[in-house]
C-alpha cells in the first residue's frame, strides 16, 4: 500500500480520535452548565425557588413580608421586636398549617442584625432552601420557609 495512503489514514484516525475527545469534553461542560442555569432561571418564574441573595447586600432587613401562603399573602411584619412564628395562638405570626409546629421558629434582633432560629420544629425551617441547623443571620432578600409559608426579608 502506498505510503501516502497510510499517512492519510493515520491523520484521519487521529482526527477521529480527537473528535471523540472533543465530544467527551463537551458532554462534561454541557452537564456543568445546566446546573448553574437551573439555579438562576426560576428566579423570574416561581418566587419560591429563589437563588441566594447576591453577595454584598449585607444590610439588615426591617420587615418580613409573606410572599407565599394561604390567607396571609401580602402582609408584612415589622422586625423591631422578636417575631415568633408557629401554630399556637401566642405567636406573633400564627400560621394555621399542619406542617407548622406550635412554636416553630423565631426571628429576633441581635445587635444591628436579625437572626432566624428554629425552635425545634418537626418539619424544619428553611433559609433559602436550606434547612436550618443553627441560628443564622438574615439579610435583605432572604427567604424563610416555614411549612407552606414563605417570608421574604425586606427593608
Amino acid at each position: 500500500m502506498p505510503d501516502l495512503v497510510l499517512d492519510l489514514l493515520k491523520y484521519v484516525f487521529l482526527i477521529l480520535l480527537y473528535i471523540f475527545v472533543a465530544r467527551a469534553v463537551r458532554a462534561v461542560f454541557l452537564e456543568m452548565r445546566p446546573a448553574t442555569a437551573q439555579n438562576r432561571a426560576p428566579v423570574s418564574r416561581s418566587p419560591a425557588r429563589t437563588a441566594p441573595p447576591p453577595r454584598g447586600s449585607r444590610k439588615a432587613p426591617r420587615k418580613a413580608a409573606v410572599v407565599e401562603g394561604e390567607g396571609l399573602r401580602g402582609k408584612s411584619f415589622s422586625l423591631n421586636d422578636e417575631l415568633t412564628i408557629g401554630r399556637a395562638e401566642k405567636n406573633t405570626l400564627v400560621l394555621n398549617d399542619s406542617y407548622v409546629s406550635q412554636f416553630h421558629a423565631r426571628i429576633s434582633p441581635r445587635g444591628e442584625a436579625f437572626v432566624v432560629e428554629d425552635m425545634g420544629s418537626t418539619n424544619g425551617t428553611y433559609l433559602n432552601k436550606r434547612r436550618l441547623t443553627a441560628p443564622a443571620e438574615l439579610q435583605r432578600g432572604d427567604r424563610v420557609k416555614i411549612g407552606k409559608t414563605v417570608l421574604e426579608m425586606r427593608k
Partner: protein, 426 residues
C-alpha cells in the same frame, strides 16, 4: 455513542490496513464493535441514569489498547485479547445485573476482605506460578490468571464499608503525639494489619507495582474518609520506610532504581535498562504525529503488549495520540470522582473514590514508569494492556461505578437536609 464505537473500530481497521491480514481482522473488529453496541443498548435499558461517559471512555481506551496489542501480535495475543474483551464486557453486564443495589455490598465486607487477602495469597502458595520474576499467577488449565487484580476490588469494597462505618471514630483526635492531635492508636490497628498483610504478600510475590498501588489506594481512601492529613503523613513515613527496606533488601528493586536514574549508562543499556531505553526511543521516534499504526517498530521493546503498551502507541500515534489517551484517562478519573462526590451514602462515596483511585493510580504508576518519570514497576495500564485478569477486573470496576452513578441519579432527592453554612454568610 455509535460514533465512539465507530472510532474505536476504525482504530482496528487502520491497523488491519497495514497488514495483509484484513480478512482475519474483520471478524474481530465486528465482534468488538458488536459487543460495545450491545452493551450500550443494555446500559440504556438497565441503568438509564448512569453516567453517560464512563463506558465510552473505557471503550475507547480498550479499543486503542486492542489495536496496539493486535498490531504487535495478530496471531496469538490479538485474538486472545478480543476474547478477553468479550469476557470483560460480559462481566460488566453481569455485575450490573447482579449488583442491583451497591449498598448491599457493604454487608459482605468482611467476607470480601478475607476473599481479597485470600486471593492475594494464593499465588504465594504452590498453586502459583512465577512469570517474569514475579509470582502473581495461578494456572488453571491453559489459562493463567492473576488473582491480585480481583483482590484489589474486594479490598476496596471492604475498605469502603469499613471506613464508612468508622469514619467519625477515625477522624476524632483523641490523643496527642509530639504536639499533634493524633487519633487513638487502636483505630490504626485493623487497617495497619490489612496493610501489613497486603504488603507482605506483595513483597513475597515480588510485585512492587501492586504493592505501591495497594498502599496508595489505602491512603487515598483513608484521607477521603477522615479528611485528616495526619494519616497521610503517617502513611508517607511508612512508605519511605518500606521503600528503603525494599531498596536495601531486594536486588530487583535496586536494579529498577539504577536503571531509572541512568538508563543510558552503557553498562546497563544492553540488559537491565534495555526495556526502558527502547521505550524512550519508541516515544522519541513517534514525534508529534507518530509513524502511523503498524509502521513503527515497537516490537523491539520487551513486554510491549503489557506494561509498555503506551510506548507502542506513543511511537505509532505520536504525541497527539498519547495526549488523547491521557485526556481520556483524566476524564475517566474526573467522572469517577464526580460520581464519588454525588453519591448519597458514605459507603458509595468511598467506594467510588476507591475504585477511581485503583484506576487512576495504576495508570499514573505505569505511565510514569515507561516515560522514566518514576522508577519502573510493572503493572498493567488499565483497559489497554494485554492481560485478561486486568481487563476483566477493570470492567467490573466500571460496572460498579456505573451502578453507583445510576443509583445516585435515580433515587428521589431526599428532603432538603443539607447543612447550612453560616460562616459563609458573614
Amino acid at each position: 455513542m455509535a460514533l465512539i464505537v465507530g472510532t474505536g473500530a476504525l482504530g482496528l481497521v487502520a491497523v488491519a490496513r497495514n497488514f495483509d491480514s484484513l480478512g482475519l481482522a474483520a471478524p474481530l473488529v465486528a465482534a468488538v464493535a458488536g459487543c460495545y453496541i450491545a452493551v450500550n443498548i443494555f446500559l440504556r435499558r438497565v441503568a438509564p441514569h448512569a453516567d453517560p461517559l464512563v463506558l465510552p471512555l473505557a471503550a475507547i481506551l480498550n479499543v486503542m489498547g486492542l489495536a496496539a496489542v493486535y498490531r504487535l501480535d495478530p496471531d496469538q495475543y490479538g485474538p486472545t485479547q478480543v476474547i478477553w474483551t468479550v469476557v470483560g464486557v460480559t462481566c460488566f453486564v453481569t455485575v450490573l445485573m447482579v449488583v442491583r443495589d451497591y449498598t448491599l455490598l457493604s454487608r459482605f465486607k468482611y467476607l470480601l476482605g478475607f476473599a481479597g487477602v485470600g486471593l492475594l495469597m494464593i499465588p504465594a502458595t504452590p498453586l502459583g506460578t512465577e512469570i517474569n520474576g514475579a509470582q502473581l499467577w495461578i494456572k488453571v488449565g491453559a489459562f493463567s490468571f492473576q488473582p491480585g487484580e480481583i483482590a484489589k476490588l474486594c479490598l476496596v469494597i471492604f475498605l469502603a464499608a469499613y471506613l464508612a462505618e468508622r469514619k467519625e471514630l477515625l477522624a476524632i483526635a483523641s490523643s496527642r503525639l509530639a504536639g499533634f492531635h493524633v487519633p487513638d492508636l487502636k483505630h490504626f490497628g485493623p487497617l495497619l494489619v490489612m496493610w501489613g498483610i497486603s504488603l507482605a504478600v506483595m513483597f513475597y510475590e515480588k510485585d512492587l507495582g501492586s504493592s505501591l498501588l495497594f498502599f496508595s489506594i489505602f491512603l487515598v481512601m483513608l484521607y477521603i474518609a477522615t479528611a485528616r492529613l495526619v494519616y497521610v503523613a503517617f502513611g508517607l513515613l511508612l512508605f519511605f520506610a518500606g521503600a528503603f527496606v525494599g531498596y536495601s533488601v531486594f536486588s530487583h528493586v535496586r536494579v529498577r532504581v539504577i536503571t531509572w536514574l541512568d538508563v543510558f549508562d552503557p553498562r546497563y543499556i544492553q540488559d537491565e535498562g534495555y526495556q526502558l531505553a527502547q521505550s524512550l526511543f519508541a516515544l522519541a521516534t513517534g514525534g508529534l504525529f507518530g509513524t502511523g499504526l503498524g509502521q513503527g517498530r515497537p516490537d523491539i521493546i520487551p513486554a510491549a503488549e503489557t506494561d509498555f503498551i503506551f510506548s507502542v502507541l506513543g511511537e505509532e500515534l505520536g504525541l497527539m495520540g498519547t495526549a488523547a489517551i491521557l485526556i481520556c484517562f483524566m476524564l475517566l478519573v474526573a467522572r469517577g470522582l464526580r460520581i464519588a462526590m454525588n453519591a448519597r451514602t458514605d459507603f458509595g462515596q468511598l467506594l467510588a473514590a476507591g475504585l477511581t483511585a485503583i484506576f487512576g493510580i495504576q495508570a499514573i504508576i505505569i505511565l510514569a514508569g515507561v516515560t522514566r518519570l518514576l522508577p519502573l514497576t510493572g503493572i498493567t495500564l488499565p483497559f489497554m494492556s494485554y492481560g485478561g485478569s486486568s481487563l476483566v477486573s477493570n470492567f467490573i470496576l466500571i460496572a460498579l461505578l456505573v451502578r453507583i452513578s445510576h443509583q445516585t441519579a435515580d433515587a428521589p432527592a431526599p428532603a432538603e437536609t443539607s447543612e447550612i453554612l453560616i460562616g459563609g454568610r458573614g
